[in-house]
Amino acid sequence: MADPMRIRAVSKDGTVNVKVLMSHEMETGQRKDGSGKVVPAHFIQSVSATWQGKVVLSAQWGPAVSKNPFLEFNFKGGKKGDKIQVTWTDNKGDKRTDEATIN
């Protein structure tokens, strides 16, 4: 199981700024290891963020997103104390969901 995401959600003037830092190798499938064998691709394919059961952002990613991916977006309506959940799923079917409280 991958390490937890770091999620920061800050509410200002009715808009919530969300910054997410995920922990993932994001292996491209192009790289070779020391013995010349191709390291199989292993990367996050989909990400979604929800607030009060509503999806506020969803994304599909390829292996070109950097290792330990960063994502930033803003949505309207969230208040201090509300929870936001972020889920990712990778190409091997692993998934992880983390929750943060809006500040």
Binding site: Q45, S58, A59, Q60, W61, A64, S66, F70
Partner: protein
Amino acid sequence: MNHTRRNVLRAGSGAGLMVLLATAGFIMPGAAVAADWNKAAFEGKTVSEAFKALGAGTPPNSADIIMRAPDIAENGAVVPVGIESKIPGTESIALLIEKNPSPLAAAFDIPAGTETAVATRVKMLETSNVYALVKANGKYFVAKKEIKVTLGGCGG
């Protein structure tokens, strides 16, 4: 004609539909989007292949798409790119890197209530044009910017 239109709808709005279903509680959001991963678009080897798989055809340029990215990236493994669309009705934003083995790096679906701007970090193999593809009210627009890479980031 109908066939093309269907492809466009499927490629462009599939995730949007999934989001609706997920919102309504029919399916788990994570699983929904994963099932919808646009393999053809992500595995396209050229920008035009990826555009085609996304249903975008040959989109016109737009000055209302703003890319926030460095002119020169010292480390191709971590290139920060922000894209903002000022086009009304923006539904999705995709990021493509022309000279990567597969240009499409990321595609974001922007539901109503979410600002039409996203930022992330991507890998770049070498100096390349970077495209921001925006879908607004069912139409596609594009903007491009060249980012020079001092040290490539795709070979590891």
